[in-house]
């Protein structure tokens, strides 16, 4: 069964085609491009590229697996809306995978998994032998250092952990971004069981900044003049 994997919850714009055979899971093609500001531009060409490289037509796909975050809003939505429209158009199910789960899935022991949430914060959770031990949260690195003090965390993975290793007091290791194959692994049971399509609910973890009465000015910019 061929699945398309997408994730845009970190600066890594991720697209891959995975083959879920009886023997195991094999990646047929993948593109991981690190550019925190170009999710809207680069995701679609990456999908096009992995489909072409894998020799797969969209209608050959059995499912779409997408990272649902947590992640910075705009980039995260690019992946989710792409997965939603493709799944609807192809009439195939879409399954969500927590992006931190994919990043932590291949780790051993007690590990902090952290991605960059911008605004000097990180999205984080603690994993034990690859399984989530705490729910995903967003917090300042210094607060996370206190929160994990009693968890017995020895190592950390993810770009958020790399960036704030000193504040966190834990040394960071690879991978920096979630490996595409882990999304396929984490959704494999659902794909094989042909589970119903899921509503792709983004893990925003933050509320929108909506306190100021903004003016209704969507396009007052160079484009108008």
């Amino acid at each position: 069964m061929l699945v398309l994997v997408l994730d845009t919850a970190t600066p890594a714009i991720t697209a891959a085609v995975a083959d879920l055979g009886d023997g195991g899971i094999e990646l047929r093609a993948q593109r991981v491009t690190v550019d925190g500001r170009a999710h809207g531009e680069l995701l679609a060409p990456s999908i096009d590229a992995v489909l072409t490289e894998a020799g797969v037509k969209p209608f050959d796909l059995s499912a779409i697996v997408v990272g649902v975050g947590p992640g910075p809003f705009t980039g995260l939505r690019a992946g989710l809306v792409t997965a939603a429209t493709m799944s609807s158009a192809l009439g195939i199910p879409a399954y969500g995978v927590c992006t931190l789960d994919a990043l932590g899935a291949a780790t051993v022991g007690t590990v902090l998994v952290a991605t960059d949430a911008r605004r000097r914060e990180i999205y984080w959770a603690v994993y034990r032998d690859g399984l989530p031990g705490t729910p995903p949260k967003v917090a300042k690195p210094a607060e996370v250092a206190i929160a994990i003090a009693s968890e017995g965390v020895l190592r950390a993975v993810g770009e958020g952990a790399e960036k704030y290793a000193e504040l966190l007091g834990v040394s960071a290791e690879a991978p920096s971004f979630p490996p595409p194959i882990e999304f396929a692994r984490l959704a494999a049971d659902r794909v094989r069981a042909k589970a119903p399509s899921e509503p792709l609910t983004p893990l925003y973890l933050r509320r929108p900044d909506a306190v100021e009465p903004a003016t209704r000015k969507p396009a007052l910019a160079a484009g108008e003049r």
Partner: protein, 347 residues
């Protein structure tokens, strides 16, 4: 090249998730989901709230449009989407979603300009343009005068607001008068019950202003004048004649808009005036434009109110026009461009 291309258009530049389907100049479906209620308590559109709502609404709105039109994705000749200008995060949901649709269906995609789409939508109601036209685009986000020679080639900006957009002035004055957001409809209603008894200032209309800003607009001074007038009444303890204030304010806005639009037509020697954008739904603006244009032998083209506000049909209409004109589709890596230049019809 196709005579009557079947195109699905997606619009997410502000707070409306719009999906329209057209065949040539025929409107087949115009599905809309609005997050306006979620913004009302803030008195304006909150970008992040709008973007979240687009993500939830896009697929259901696409499916509703397909159902309404009775067509399948496989029947489409192309997909069109607003590439800009607009709210960056909101645009991106539509652009990424449209690209997903294009990838899945292996159809060509056209990233188009929101403002040009406001002009193109009138072809669904009044047929193709037969010659050059002047377009007056007025909404909460834009107030522009454009010269349109060929919709598939480009438009030429003549003037724009130098401060608030016309619709923004409606929103602000409505708030001042205790009316809900968006302010256009309640002001229009109140004005019908009142009389334009107060002479509020007409921005950028003095002889001196006309030298440097002949086709530009300014509504910030008008909004301030209305606020001062209302405050003075309240200070005196006298009642505020809300309906008369609404009528007077609306008269001032429509006076300037139509005066400059007709002047632009005459200056350019153009016989057709197209009006679009949310403010084009205003009943006084429509009546005044018809009346003044008739005196100069100018034809006014203004679509029904539902097509004036942001919608997917306008994007589909422009997309269909570009397909019929043989324009090349956009590449898959085109960005959502919040400040997209007016001179670009598509990307």
């Amino acid at each position: 090249m196709r005579d009557e291309p079947l195109v699905l258009g997606i619009e997410t530049s502000c707070d409306e998730t719009g999906v329209g389907i057209v065949r040539g100049h025929t409107l087949l479906a115009d599905a809309l989901a609005s997050s306006v209620d979620e913004h009302a308590r803030f008195g304006g559109v909150v970008p992040e709230v709008a973007s979240r709502a687009h993500l939830e609404a896009l697929v259901p709105t696409i499916n509703r449009a397909l159902d309404d039109a009775g067509v399948k994705l496989a029947d489409l000749d192309a997909i069109a989407v607003t590439a800009g200008p607009g709210l960056a995060g909101a645009l991106l949901v539509g652009v990424a979603g449209a690209k997903g649709l294009a990838l899945a269906t292996e159809k060509p995609i056209f990233g188009v300009n929101h403002l040009a789409a406001h002009v193109a939508v009138d072809t669904l109601e009044h047929g193709p343009f037969t010659g050059p036209a002047i377009a007056l685009l007025v909404s909460g986000g834009h107030s522009s005068l454009l010269r349109v020679d060929d919709l598939s080639a480009g438009v030429t900006p003549m003037g724009a607001t130098i401060d608030d957009a016309a619709g923004e002035a409606f929103d602000k004055v409505a708030r001042l008068l205790g009316m809900p957001f968006p302010g256009g409809p309640p002001i229009d209603r109140a004005a019908r019950e009142g009389e334009a008894t107060v002479s509020f200032p007409r921005g950028l209309t003095t002889a001196r202003d006309l030298q440097s800003h002949r086709f530009d607009f300014s509504f910030s001074g008008l909004k301030t004048a209305v606020a001062r007038w209302v405050e003075a009444r309240e200070r005196d303890g006298s009642p505020v004649p809300v309906n008369d204030v609404a009528a007077s304010f609306q008269e001032a806005v429509c006076d300037v808009l139509t005066m400059k639009a007709i002047d632009a037509c005459r200056h350019a020697g153009v016989q057709t005036l197209v009006i679009g954008g949310g403010v084009a739904a205003n009943s006084r603006l429509r009546a005044m434009a018809q009346e003044r244009a008739a005196k100069h032998g100018i034809t006014v083209r203004v679509p029904r109110p539902k097509l004036c506000t942001d919608n997917g049909a306008m994007v589909a209409a422009l997309g269909s026009h570009l397909v019929a004109a043989g324009r090349r589709p956009s590449k898959l890596d085109f960005p959502a461009d919040s400040a997209m230049s007016l001179s670009l019809i598509g990307v």
